[in-house]
Symmetry: C2
Subunit: 339 residues, 2 copies
């Protein structure tokens, strides 16, 4: 019995021919007689020969591996992105090596080093919240490994990016609320050091400006998770002139606000309309279902990987960076209604 998997050498030895002949026979090279080809292919099938990708990587200096670094996997948007990545990678013949940074800068660096050691052909990154220095990404590029950033991008590094159109999405959400008759719209927003939080708030403001509605800073509060929403929403409702709509920066926050509003005794959507962001399962199981912005994580994954694969195939490292924007779209459900 052989130990380990079957190699070309094993086949060559068994057939009394050289390894190079086996290699050529397997690729249907014209130099090889059909008799030999048949013999080789039969034995290869019988023995379940599988080419050793490691040896091929070494030979060709090409691993056919795409590296992915993501802040955390347990998150509907990110897992959707990974799904899209895996899909394109599979079709294009690449394998996916996956790392999560857990929002830690240290770990992100360790991940990049593993990627460098593994000689991956390209990298997809969504940065950790902690990351403020980008030299580890530069090192990747200095070594000829193309990178595409997605969602959490890096403006200091001129690089390929794929992002969600947060501004337009937020604008559409608030525009919708105004069009159905809402006049005092609160915004539960994300921290402003994140581009995402900035852009969504800008969209909110721009929609109000378009409709000539005065911006009331008291209606904009930092609140970006479920628990916080349960806590802070009641206070919003106690204002002397309470809001008649809430635009939440993400889905879970919207769900928290929804529950809080109902608990206080207001009806949704009759008294208060609510819109969230990101279309996960949550929006579809609340009562009523949440109007929300589909964020197309899957498509972000697809686009980013398509772009990366192009860069890899191209082989050139002095390209003009591109930023692709994935549009969001508003899904109107039970939590908003014409007043």
């Amino acid at each position: 019995m052989r130990s380990g998997q079957v190699t070309i050498k094993d086949i060559a030895k068994e057939l009394g021919i050289s390894a190079s002949t086996v290699s050529r026979a397997l690729k249907d090279h014209p130099d090889i007689s059909s008799k030999t080809k048949v013999a080789v292919n039969e034995l290869a099938k019988k023995w379940n020969y599988r080419p050793n990708a490691v040896a091929l990587s070494l030979r060709h200096s090409k691993s056919n591996i795409i590296g992915v670094i993501i802040p955390e996997i347990v998150h509907h948007f990110f897992s959707s992105v990974i799904s899209g990545i895996e899909e394109i990678a599979y079709k294009a013949g690449y394998n996916v090596m996956m790392f999560q940074s857990n929002e830690s800068y240290e770990r992100e660096i360790a991940n990049v080093q593993a990627l460098l050691s593994s000689r991956v052909d390209g990298v997809l990154v969504s940065m950790s919240k902690e990351t403020k220095d980008f030299s580890h990404f530069k090192e990747l590029r200095d070594n000829g490994i193309p990178i595409v950033f997605f969602d959490r991008i890096c403006n200091e590094l001129s690089s390929d990016n794929v992002i969600v159109d947060d501004f337009a999405g937020a604008f559409a959400a608030v525009d919708h609320l105004i069009n159905i008759g809402c006049k005092r719209i609160a915004h539960l927003s994300a921290p402003q050091h994140m581009l995402l939080g900035q852009n969504r708030q800008k969209g909110y403001r721009q929609a109000l400006i378009k409709h000539k509605i005065a911006i009331d800073e008291d209606l904009i509060i930092k609140c970006d998770n479920y628990e916080e929403a349960m806590l802070k929403t009641p206070e919003l409702l106690k204002l002397s002139s309470p809001p008649d709509a809430i635009f939440a920066v993400n889905e879970l926050t919207a769900a928290g606000a929804l529950l809080a509003v109902k608990k206080v005794g207001f009806r949704v959507p009759e008294d208060i309309s609510i819109v969230g962001f990101t279309d996960g399962l949550v929006s579809r199981v609340t009562d009523p279902n949440l109007t929300t912005l589909e964020q197309h994580g899957f498509e972000v994954g697809l686009k980013a990987t398509e772009l990366l694969v192009d860069r890899i195939k191209d082989g050139e490292m002095d390209y003009e960076p591109v930023t692709r924007v994935v549009k969001t779209n508003l899904i109107v459900r039970g939590s908003t209604r014409e007043k």
Copy 2:
């Protein structure tokens, strides 16, 4: 400028010494003079030398890669598992190569072949729903690659498994329902060719038997997703003696049943109590929140990977397979209440 990344040869050439000396210097081998060591290490750091993992894999016939095949990533339970996998793999110095089968048998086979080609050191698998033939998994084992199955396991193949205690979980859920006074408990179940479906139904039956409640087969229907629950729940409620509780095989089905029940006009939990399985976000945002069984996906990932890493390190392929069980626990929320 060198093309590609720095190698030991580059360092050797620059310093006018042999590659083997560089290799030994980097590993602090006693044969090498400290002067040489210093020179090598300085240059290695200056040039950002990173060992080529591909060459190491080939040399040592060990890739330090763990392969993962999962039915779909966009799923709270599975992404939790992956997170656990990645955590242990990172700590143990392994990289994770990830594939999703998309519940397709064909694709699962393709994934296994990619894993074989990549010469991964071990594999973690949760099978696709379609899979009924297991020869591709046998091939992995025949080639000395240990496998640990998780959640969707395979009883025909005697193998290492990490599973959730579906039986005990289901039993606990139904026991709880009976204890709060429910008498006619319906079960929305998964297909019975899946072990998971079987075990959860067994737990359901056992709890009824324990409490000497007759089993009514009309109350057990195959129904394991949101849409189906919306469709079939109303029919259940039209029975001459309708159920006063529903035990759903998973979270989304429970959420669908909840919405359907409310739509028909029954109240939850006053008229009908509902329990789900898996503790994702969904259970926490429905109205009322769902009583459910926490499934500890992260822990499943941890345990499975720990087991796999042990098997890899051990190196022996004729081990006695082990099945580790991760306990569930019941989280009582608003959808069930004392009657």
